[in-house]
Amino acid sequence: MTLDLLHYGFMQRALLASLLVGMTAPSVGVYIVQRRLALIGDGMGHVALAGVALGVLTTGQPVLTALVTAVVGAVVIELVRARGRTSGDVALAVMFYGGIAAGVVIISRAPGGTPANLNSYLFGAITTTSRTDLVVFAVLAVLVLTATIGLAPRLFAVSNDEEYARAAGLPVLGINLLLAVITATTVVISMRVVGLLLISALMVVPVATAQLLVNSFRSTLVTAIGIGVAVSLGGTTTSYYANTPSGGTIVLLAIAIFTLAAVGTSVRSVLHRNRHDEAEDHLHRHGEHCGHLAVPHDDHVDYVHDGHRHAPHGEHYDEHYDEPEATMSSRGTEGHP
């Protein structure tokens, strides 16, 4: 495959915009998933559509109006959420659908406001990123990444346990508002290549994929950004050759990788099913005179401990199972520390 796509200015801009989205969306998404609010980005996309439509109607420059609308919407959403009333859920729904309804109606009144035009904002298109857009996106992406990486410990602490963060004196409301604003900003960065209705997927799916593969927060963040960049560059390139909407292509690619990872990890866990269950905190060291019934088991000795069979394994004890019922029931050693 030649790189003929790079001869076109619009493709260069689309790929650079994809790179920015690919980095920022998962870096915000990791905190959203941590807080189990995977759908909040979707709502912000709905609200941003009203801003896009206003921009199209008034100036023909929708990026800045979308930014203002999305950020204001995000702050309101977070304040409603912080009040924690049950009516908040309904208030959010009204806002989200109000945003998308206003967007559709306003854009239909704009000069050249066609359904095709709307589609490109909702689902992404590779030909639409202007030079000015790219500059704005780059500035916004730097701001978002400064927050998501520079303030990672704080965002993590509040996302992980809000009550503890409050007791520790961290500015919880401020951090939550910051997260809402950078989520809104990421929605705007994505509006050209991924689209307002699909950006939430690029925040969530790479994170969901990464957490299948690694087991720390930091490596989830790094892996998710890697996946995000790969699928957005890959999806944008594919959409050039296949003549498909870039947003949909990117998200389908992300979901394909997620499925691959999910299948891969479950196959691996089936293949490695030699049971290795570590015994719960073991303060007691089993030995010849510990009083626990010693049972020879293949090449080693298990100790019957409180109805379980413990086998020494390095620093800890494993639970062993394949033992006749008779021995399992000898519970004469209960209550050992």
Partner: protein, 260 residues
């Protein structure tokens, strides 16, 4: 350090609740440096609410509250109170390791954008060591048992190097082996001179550590004194005088009975 600073918590006539509705009323409560105090009482008696009021998680509706001699409203050194919430899990939507969760406890000592430095990492490792999870430091917390996750929460509180540890039901719902480890951890903290405020249903394995017991019932403190040797049934008995009568009139506190 001034003299008043030895009084870590001072609540006078405190009412704490949610919205405008007080759950606890007329609470006079003090905690001094070096004390090990347990708040005892049945569910709904208000012991957790008292702790939440002290920590600023529930509003003080009336009365006074001072922390380290400073009125609570203008107290900004929250890291001096290490909080171990009554949670059975620390698992969020994204995997995180023991070290990552414990490190989040260090934040209240750090400025925004400041990276963890070697001394911070040392404190975090020490906290993990204290609760006996050094071997599991880089394990995902989702793979730990409930009891081990409680210990992660304690380590997280310790990572701020607090002057006082406030623990809500540290041993509730924890198996015997983990209770033993928790008790050993607390023993070590007490031996190092830590100030502890615990909420509990019963003293259980912690009894030998406890210097003072405050019994809550229906939003009031009905006993404040040393633990009673020979069991805790005495706190729950329907009518008893204070054993260490620091208050002028037990009738004001809803006590009306006679000595057994």
């Amino acid at each position: 350090m001034s003299v008043t600073e030895t009084e870590v918590v001072r609540m006078r006539g405190g009412a704490v609740g949610y919205g405008d509705r007080p759950v606890i009323r007329d609470i006079d409560f003090s905690l001094h440096t070096g004390e090990v105090v347990v708040l005892l009482g049945p569910n709904g008696s208000g012991k957790t609410t008292l702790v939440r009021g002290i920590l600023g998680l529930a509003p003080l509706i009336s009365g006074e509250l001072a922390l380290f001699g400073v009125p609570a409203a203008s107290f900004h050194e929250r890291y001096r109170l290490g909080y171990v919430p009554q949670r059975h899990t620390v698992v969020g939507g994204v995997p995180s390791t023991v070290r990552e969760v414990v490190s989040s406890g260090r934040l209240s000592r750090k400025r925004p954008f400041a990276w963890m430095k070697a001394p911070d990492r040392e404190v975090v490792s020490q906290a993990i060591e204290t609760v006996g999870l050094a071997e599991r430091a880089d394990t995902s917390v989702a793979q730990l048992s409930g009891g081990q996750q409680r210990r992660v929460l304690i380590a997280r509180a310790l990572a701020a190097e607090p002057d006082v540890l406030v623990m809500d039901e540290p041993t509730a719902g924890v198996d015997a082996a983990n209770q033993e480890i928790l008790a050993a951890t607390l023993r070590q903290l007490v031996a190092n001179g830590s100030t502890l405020l615990l909420v509990a249903h019963e003293l259980g394995p912690l009894e030998p550590l406890i210097g003072r017991v405050v019994v809550m019932r229906d939003g009031h403190a009905v006993y404040d004194g040393p633990p009673v040797p020979g069991g805790e049934g005495v706190y729950h008995a329907p009518a008893h005088h204070h054993l260490d009568d620091q208050r002028p009139d037990p009738h004001d506190l809803g006590l009306s009975g006679q000595l057994p």
